[in-house]
Amino acid sequence: MGTISIVRDIWRSYFFLVETHQENLFLKRRINHLKRENTRYQELLLANQRLRDLLNFQENTDEPVLAARVIGWDSSGLFKSIIIDKGEDDGLKVNMPVVNSEGVVGRVVSVSPNYAQVLLITDQNSAVDGLVQRSRGRGMLKGNGSSECYFDYVIKTYDINTGDTIVTSGLGRIFPKGLYLGVVKEINDSPNKLFKDVRVSPAVNFSKLEEVLIVLRSGFVPSGIPEMQ
């Protein structure tokens, strides 16, 4: 009886199931491979969508633009900046505007042969001249180091409401006119202050920033001359 059961076990677990076991291993490997491939395709699909948005923006602007990938974020903890994979060799210069399909990202503050640093509009050192799209009221969009910006120097007589769109004014010779900066989130009109306190939500979702466009403007301000604030 013992011999028969051993023979039967060997037959069932080896001769009979050896192919099933091998097939099982093969299929498991195949599933893992397909999972990896699927993830890659999902990534490509999302990248395709983002690049398509950038391409739409590129087609709607007269200025020559260059696409770049975000390869790093500020490592000091003090500034709001990104590092992109294009540099001097690709024609980048200091103070060139950086945008994406959502709106203004920032401007180039330093360039190396193969990479460049971009100061985001949310940085405290950033200031962009802007205007309210609806009423054409002027102001200065300044970063406050968080995910929001302030729209400073808005005169009390200016017509500005919550939800208004802020666009670049074209003054300052850095950003082209009419680029989307953000939406007015909150207005505080204190009688003790000369200007209105306006908080703005930037158009760009900086937490999901992966690709950007650098506007290769010929009329950029040279690095030696500070931007007027």
Binding site: D74, S75, F79, S110
Partner: protein, 159 residues
């Protein structure tokens, strides 16, 4: 330690962005420096402060030398106070790491304010500095323990 510090400085922005903790400044370099000071390796600490400062300057949109100066100046200050500090207690190291963070931010904000007249500082910064100092201080004992393990040393009082 050099490799870990270098990797930390280069990748901290990316990691903080991925994890979503960009608002807090957890500075492992400060802990490494305190560790070296506690180990009485002042020269190594000085070199580490200098080169990690330069590395941070390279990857930040600021004047080259800003972080180098800040790290070196604070280290010099701590080294001057060595006589009054008892490094055999972990509390000293925790406190020093937290003070290092506060001193770093204070110096940076003072320099930035002096260099660019009228530069406004967000009120949230003043809330985030103590939080960053607290978190860095809390990490200190664990990092000291890990460093001792890596260096094959017996964990003494301060670590």
């Amino acid at each position: 330690m050099w490799l870990a510090s270098g990797i930390f400085v280069i990748l901290r922005g990316v990691i903080a962005h991925l994890v979503g903790i960009e608002w807090v400044d957890i500075d492992l370099v400060a802990i490494f420096l305190i560790y070296l000071i506690a180990e009485d390796q002042v020269f190594r600490a000085g070199c580490l402060a200098f080169f990690m400062g330069i590395l941070t300057d390279i990857f930040a949109p600021c004047q080259l030398g800003l972080f180098t100066f800040v790290y070196s100046a604070i280290l010099l200050g701590i080294n001057q106070c060595r006589g009054f500090l008892d490094f055999s207690k972990i509390k000293t190291s925790v406190l020093l790491a937290a003070i290092f963070l506060v001193a770093k931010w204070s110096l940076l904000l003072i320099i930035i304010r002096i260099l660019s007249l009228g530069q406004s500082i967000s009120s949230t910064t003043f809330i985030l500095i103590p939080i960053s100092a607290l978190i860095t201080g809390m990490i200190t004992p664990f990092l000291f323990y890990f460093l001792n393990l890596v260096r094959g040393k017996e964990n003494r009082g301060y670590a």
